[in-house]
């Protein structure tokens, strides 16, 4: 579906120090610096995959999405999306894709979302019966019933995002680029959007590429992640494998039926958190079975779960280590 080889995108940016003098000097003489937003990316994405793009701010995630969607022209390298060169923005290509930018909208601000849906039906040339069926399905899945008749400007952020997703999917894109789709949404709305996106991928077989600062989005949606830092590939592979490689330790989460002293837990493993309701231990992967057995034998355990280190911690550690040589993990 997507093939990217040695992709580079360099920007020339105007640079000036602060101050009035520098501002005046920049009127007559400007200094420019070349920035490598993407610096030699290689990856392939198969049809139907759900892939998360991860990286710190300015890593090149959104730039990569925009190149794949044809909005940005690469400085060099090869990009092929379902047999199309995105920069050409041919009709056939545009009808296969959709880019949802969490901080930009396609809904007509002063009109109800139903008008944008209708507009998209016309510009994407969706047959009326297909449009009606898809709209009915999306309306039910996203529960946007009455919202579509209110002017967009009167909708809440969460309501708008649900309508944005509907507008984006009216033409049934085979490839969906989601850039921070849950940004600014409350937790329950994040869950709604996440569940919907997953179900769309499973039902339609559409390929999904996601960037998000909410690690939970990535954890719930993307079996595979591509990690970028300063425009370079840092990791490409299964999310689990990344977590295991960067943080091989596990978390044992315990809930007790009566209070337990933290000092009694200390010999068992490193106690990361000890609250009245929940205790979190950190243990090496090889020691999990033994620690679990001892915990069950020695303490009044009501509930016990074993998890990987949180993705936030994994990512922080990955980026804190600097930029290792790109090591590709196995394909998911």
């Amino acid at each position: 579906m997507i093939r990217v080889r040695d992709l580079r995108k360099h920007y020339k940016v105007h640079e000036r120090p602060p101050g009035l003098g520098a501002a005046l000097r920049s009127v007559f003489r400007r200094r420019y610096k070349t920035l490598a937003a993407i610096d030699g990316l290689d990856f392939d994405i198969a049809p139907g995959e759900r892939v998360g793009f991860l990286g710190p701010n300015g890593a090149g995630k959104t730039t990569t999405l925009k190149v794949l969607a044809g909005l940005l022209h690469p400085t060099s390298g090869e990009v092929s999306v379902d047999g199309h060169e995105p920069r050409r923005r041919e009709d056939a290509f545009l009808k296969k894709i959709m880019l949802v930018l969490g901080q930009k909208q396609q809904l007509l601000w002063d009109l109800p979302p139903s008008e944008t849906f209708e507009l998209n039906r016309a510009v994407y040339d969706v047959p009326r019966a297909e449009y009606d069926a898809r709209l009915a399905e999306l309306t039910e899945l996203l529960q946007i019933g009455d919202l579509v008749r209110k002017p967009t400007r009167t909708l809440s952020l969460g309501e708008r995002m649900k309508c944005e997703l509907t507008a984006a999917l009216i033409h049934g894109p085979k490839l969906l680029f989601l850039d921070e789709p849950t940004i600014g949404l409350d937790v329950s709305m994040q869950v709604v959007v996440r569940d919907f996106v997953k179900s769309y991928n499973e039902r339609s077989g559409a390929t999904l590429i996601l960037t998000s600062h909410y690690m939970e989005d990535v954890e719930k949606l993307c079996p595979r992640v591509i990690v970028i830092d300063k425009g370079k590939l840092v990791y490409d592979g299964a999310l689990d494998a990344l977590a295991t490689r960067i943080r091989p330790d596990k978390r044992i989460i315990l809930r007790f039926s009566r209070p337990v002293d933290v000092a009694d837990l200390a010999p068992l493993a490193t106690v990361l958190r000890h609250d009245p309701g929940e205790t979190v231990l950190r243990v090496l992967k090889d020691e999990v079975s033994a620690v679990v057995a001892r915990a069950l034998a020695q303490f009044p355990v009501d509930d016990l779960t074993v998890e990987n280190a949180p993705l936030e911690e994994v990512m922080s550690e990955l980026f804190a280590r600097g930029r290792p040589d790109p090591e590709r993990g196995p394909p998911p």
Binding site: A69, L94, L99, D110, E118, N120
Partner: protein
């Protein structure tokens, strides 16, 4: 982005564009009030002509001229440059570029979509104009009305192209709103919007004939008020067509270069 897919989507583009144009009732009233400059000029010039005519213009001629100017301004107005500047600055142009409809055609369709409302504003003014000046102040030759119909479409196209070209300048300067201000200075003075071109000194008038401004508004107004015989009207129509072709070419060139720049630097 093909013309075929745009044509197919045109009825919906126009319908949604019309809904958007009438979304704000208060804004509509403000907009109508904002385009009443010809009526102000009507008051000024008729006061001037009360003592003695200015050129061939007495009070009734000024009344006919500026009421026609109001109508032509309504029918040829465009705000595409403002839309383009806004969308470039806030990045929503990206959403337009992702649709399989050429953005320039979409801007044009949005302009056409507002036309019914503009016609609705113009009709009462046309009726008042006829009642005030009588049929003698209005062109009486049917064939010249045919030329007028072409000239009004041409004036709208030319104004749209000017808007789109200046809008494209925003790709290079980040904002081209001031560039439009500069254009409007010349437009107000040299188009016949504030001063009929006939009143200009002969040398200045022959110079103005070769500039695009007159073909945006003065030319259709002059046809409405019966200022031209057919041969003159056809020459002026040909000049208008030439300016449209020039601006169309310039706009296409600027759009391609602009989008390439946008795609190079990011949106």
């Amino acid at each position: 982005m093909s013309l075929r897919s745009t044509t197919r989507a045109l009825p919906t583009l126009l319908r949604v564009g019309f809904a958007d144009a009438v979304a704000y009732r208060a804004e509509m009233i403000v907009w109508v009030l904002a385009t009443t400059m010809p009526l102000v000029m009507l008051g000024l010039w008729t006061a001037v002509a009360r003592d003695a005519p200015v050129g061939r213009y007495g009070e009734p001629q000024f009344q006919a001229y500026f009421l026609a100017t109001f109508i032509v301004r309504q029918l040829t107005g465009s705000w595409a440059f403002w839309e383009m500047n806004f969308e470039l600055r806030n990045g929503t142009l990206s959403m337009r570029l992702l649709r399989p409809v050429h953005p320039l055609l979409a801007y044009a369709a949005e302009g056409v979509a507002a036309m019914p409302m503009r016609v609705a504003v113009s009709i009462p003014v046309a009726v008042i104009a006829l009642a005030l000046v009588g049929p003698t102040g209005v062109n009486a030759k049917p064939l010249l009305w045919v030329v007028w119909a072409f000239s009004i479409v041409g004036a709208w196209l030319l104004t749209l192209m000017v808007n789109l070209l200046i809008g494209c300048a925003a790709f290079f300067f980040e904002s081209s709103l001031k560039l439009m201000d500069l254009w409007l200075v010349f437009y107000f003075v040299l188009s016949g919007y504030l001063i009929p071109i006939d009143i200009f000194p002969t040398r200045l008038r022959s110079f103005v004939d070769w500039l695009p401004f007159r073909y945006q508004i003065g030319f259709p107004v002059e046809l409405m008020t019966g200022s031209h015989a057919m041969p003159d009207a056809l020459v002026l129509l040909a000049r208008q067509a030439a300016w449209i072709a020039i601006f169309l070419g310039a706009t296409r060139w600027a759009w391609r270069r602009g989008v390439a720049r946008f795609s190079a630097f990011g949106g």
